[in-house]
Symmetry: D2
Subunit: 151 residues, 4 copies
């Protein structure tokens, strides 16, 4: 990707922002239900990982598309939130997901980055990888719009 | 919506097709995990309902977008599958979801219908409603592509 | 579709709103270039029609997908604008388009309706029909987000 | 972007494939209508450029979203076609476009790359840049599915 860096994007998150994002993640019942963890977080970036279990499978024993979507949607939301002032709230306006291959593996990793941080709407792209036997393949790709909630 | 009826769409599902769809639904670990039920099924139509519980919530206590996406994605897939010969398999190619309002309520209902059944790709639309105190509001809208798996 | 009527949606457009929309349409160079006309306009609804010519074709002699997208995008934007106060401006945040069959015919008709009019974002659906020999078929379906421009 | 290279992707296009793509581009009436040119072409990559003229504008004098979508859709289709055997035909199944900023400038450049080339469906991403006074900014981002036409 190219041409999308926000000039003023900081090198690292403030401790206050980081703990705010982690506290928000911890309050999401669904993330607990599917066993998701916040694997990485930085300015305009967030990764969420999900280990495989039967609870997150579909009828053929792969990761269910709904789990892929949920992990990716959350990763994108936190990537957007990471660039906003402490105390901001965000909502997902929409996303589009393309499934690229069956998500057969031990671990899912949804990796989000901010493509454009606007005044009220932030657009992100999220790549989702599945790991099987040490090999990592892209299994889904998303484009998402996040809106800063009006308070 | 208009103009989209497939002329040869049958009046009702065969018993064999209905039991095939129900058996596939029962094998989806994630649907069990989130407490989803197959609420209605017909030729080119499928509804999936999810009662609210903390397990399916986000940080503000509403239905998590990932649950909305998962229920809707499955409903669209089964609406498409309902029009294919017994023994067919389908995969989701992609979907786009717009969130229309916070999904605050007791029960979610994802209602899918087939917009166009092509030879290899079926396009569906899914409306997702949330019920709160007897009132029903649309909270999300999707457009989805389902591909008949090559065997 | 169901459950989406805005309770306060008026029966008809004011004369002032109608002339504002028509003036905006007339200023769009591309609409002139492709020969598009504003075929119908009402509260939360807009149709744009395009007669076939070689100028709007693709390599097989059908309507080009870009013309379908342009007409549909404009129809959705004006459907959204029709519900906003006179003097408002809108921009398209995003849309998703599914092509349902080849757009082979004499005339294209993009028919937009507002699914949800929010405070800052309006979501529309647009059905695009192609007419050939008096028969009308749906050839594309869109879901779109329109934002009220901040002034 | 990462993890998406097709191992067998060739270093360069064959002369036969290149002339096939250029001939297909030349047959697209709409590309001529909007003044588009095929700026670059390689295995899994295609760029289409459009100089600004009033013919491709919207009501504020920027590039019309329909022109952005048309150029990007064609670029993605040719990126996909570049990896298929000579004589293949493709159709766009769907795309999703996010508009990131007003496309104000002298020249538009839609740059497509293949994210995943499957047996029947190829998924691409397209970044669209606008150039103004020597500065280049991303103005739109797409995700698209292209299907190999059955013959």
């Amino acid at each position: 990707m190219s041409g999308t860096a926000t000039p003023t994007r900081p090198e690292a998150l403030s401790a206050e922002k980081e703990s705010e994002v982690r506290a928000s993640f911890a309050r999401q019942g669904l993330m607990r239900t599917i066993g998701a963890e916040l694997a990485a977080l930085g300015p305009g970036r967030c990764s969420i990982a999900v280990p495989f279990s039967e609870n997150v499978g579909q009828q053929q024993g792969f990761f269910h598309g709904g789990v892929i979507g949920a992990a990716a949607d959350s990763a994108g939301g936190y990537a957007a939130l990471s660039l906003l002032p402490v105390g901001s709230e965000v909502v997902t306006l929409e996303y589009k997901i393309n499934f690229l291959r069956p998500a057969a593996g031990d671990r899912l990793s949804a990796e989000a980055s901010v493509l454009r941080a606007g005044r009220s709407v932030t657009v992100t792209r999220i790549d989702v990888f599945v790991e099987a036997g040490g090999k990592r393949s892209i299994c889904a790709a998303l484009q998402q719009s996040i809106m800063r909630a009006l308070s």
